[in-house]
Amino acid sequence: MNWTLPLTVVGAAVLGLLSAFGRFSRFVADCGRALADLRTWPGLTVMQMRKLGVNSLPIALFLSAFTGIVLALQASYTFTGAIPMYFVGALVGKTMILELGPVLTGLALSGRIGANIAAELGTMRVSEQIDALETMAYNPVSYLVVPRVLAGTLMVPVIVIFANVIGIICGWFTALQMLEMSTSQFIRGLRLFYDPFDITYSVLKSCSFGFVITIVGCYQGFNTQGGAEGVGVATTRAVVIASVLILVLDAFWAATLLQQ
């Protein structure tokens, strides 16, 4: 047996990973440079904010509404007989704002926004539309990538705030209708562990999720090769990579910002 084979395999994998990271870093740097092209991206960003933000609201709100209901019911099931029921409000509020609002919305939007961007830009790449932009002296990064990344980074936190509010409202409604709690009990629990930093944490986390979803979608779309199959591969990769990065970032923010 060739004893160098494992080393070769590991070496090739490491080199592949490093070169992929290098290509992605260069793409992000290109986006940074394209910010100087103020003639192109501001108007398009507003359009993308409407497209990515408003159109994504229904799925995010649907998801958070049911999450709020389930959270309230599970909290009540767990606390029965041991912990006062007003803690249901604390658990619903804290969990929605700190974790489930941003993460579930982020994962849902990686499927909706990330896949949409990768498929759209991938199709533009394989049908030479990105080359056509280049030939008419448009920088495709400032025309296609910057508006989407900015729109995602700015709009995902807005969607998450809506999702948090709807989740808590649904949790409260469930507490009133199914758990025989009063509004004052629920609000007492909600305020018990509330810290204004929670909102900052939720928004900051959502910004990072929005950035990751859109930049990964754009990168995969821009580097699509082949025809319809290539677009499919790019779309799948965009969703999978963004979902993994969302979970990694979630742990990162918890480790760095929630440590006492």
């Binding site: 533009m124 049908s127 030479e128 539309q129 080359d131 056509a132 280049e134 030939t135 008419m136 002296a137």
Partner: protein, 284 residues
């Protein structure tokens, strides 16, 4: 205002597409580049527009070496260049009018009224009057192609690069496009490089025709010179006779085999003055 490609080599992975391509297009001239599918014609065109960079060789447009231009200089050069894509490459999310307006808006210096007038005029030139509000998805393949052509000519470029402008079009529309290419040259003095498989079109529109084969230009001449060429690869292509090309290729392969075998024999012959003659034979 000329295009010069010198010694262009380009490969994608292990596949070598261009192997020392040389081609000049003089100011105001229309040159057609013909060749088999996959010969590297579109790759050649993309080098001129700076969409691809050569592995080796130089691309000079208007006296400027394209691979050495800064991004800003490259974009300035591209505003003097119209590119007609093989499959139109229209922006799906925009109307035809907005597609045609893209280059005009980027070039600047026109009021909205002038832009709308130019859109109508450009669409009229390709026989698409009144198509401004349509979406690309509502057009047939031929109409899309013509809309792509209208987009390329709208901002009055000095250079026009056509990637198979008439493939898939009916004979009448093909004739309309051919006349348009000729008129762009006569009216506006545009320098054009046209990639085509259609020899009838190539004869009609070209000042010169170049044949690309195995990554090199193997013949350049006026339409009459190409018609009467002795080069069997060119004749085989022009007349649609694959057996002639196969014969020429087989002969070339045999010559190459003999040429490579000769120095080896000389080496085997041994020492002294015989060995000294080997480099000469290899050159031959």
């Amino acid at each position: 205002m000329s295009i010069q490609l010198t010694g262009i080599h380009k490969g994608f992975g292990p596949k070598q597409i261009l192997r020392g391509l040389d081609l000049d297009v003089e100011e105001g001239e229309t040159v057609s580049l013909v060749g088999f599918s996959g010969a590297g014609k579109s790759v050649t065109l993309k080098h001129i527009a700076g969409l691809l960079m050569p592995d080796k060789g130089t691309v000079v447009v208007d006296g400027k070496e394209v691979p050495k231009l800064s991004r800003k200089e490259l974009y300035q050069m591209r505003l003097e260049m119209g590119y007609v894509f093989q499959f139109a490459a229209l922006f799906d999310s925009m109307t035809i009018g907005d597609n045609v307006a893209m280059g005009l808006r980027q070039k600047g210096g026109m009021s909205e009224k002038e832009i709308q007038d130019r859109i109508a005029e450009s669409l009229g030139r390709v026989g698409l009057d009144g198509f401004e509000k349509r979406l690309p998805s509502e057009l047939s393949g031929g109409q899309r192609k013509r809309a792509g052509l209208a987009r390329a000519i709208a901002y009055r470029p000095k250079y026009l690069l056509y990637d198979e402008p008439t493939s898939g079009l009916d004979p009448v529309t093909t004739e309309v496009i051919d006349r348009l290419i000729i008129r762009m040259k006569e009216d506006l003095g545009v320098t054009s490089l046209v990639i085509t498989h259609d020899m009838k079109s190539a004869y009609a529109i070209s000042d010169r025709i170049a044949m690309l084969f195995e990554g090199r230009v193997v013949e350049v001449g006026t339409p009459d010179e190409i018609r009467s060429t002795k080069n069997r690869i060119v004749r085989g292509f022009v007349e649609g006779r694959p057996e002639m090309i196969e014969e020429a290729e087989a002969e070339a392969a045999e010559e190459a085999r003999l040429a490579s075998a000769a120095p080896a024999r000389t080496q085997q012959d041994g020492d002294g003055h015989h060995a000294g003659r080997a480099p000469h034979r290899r050159d031959a």
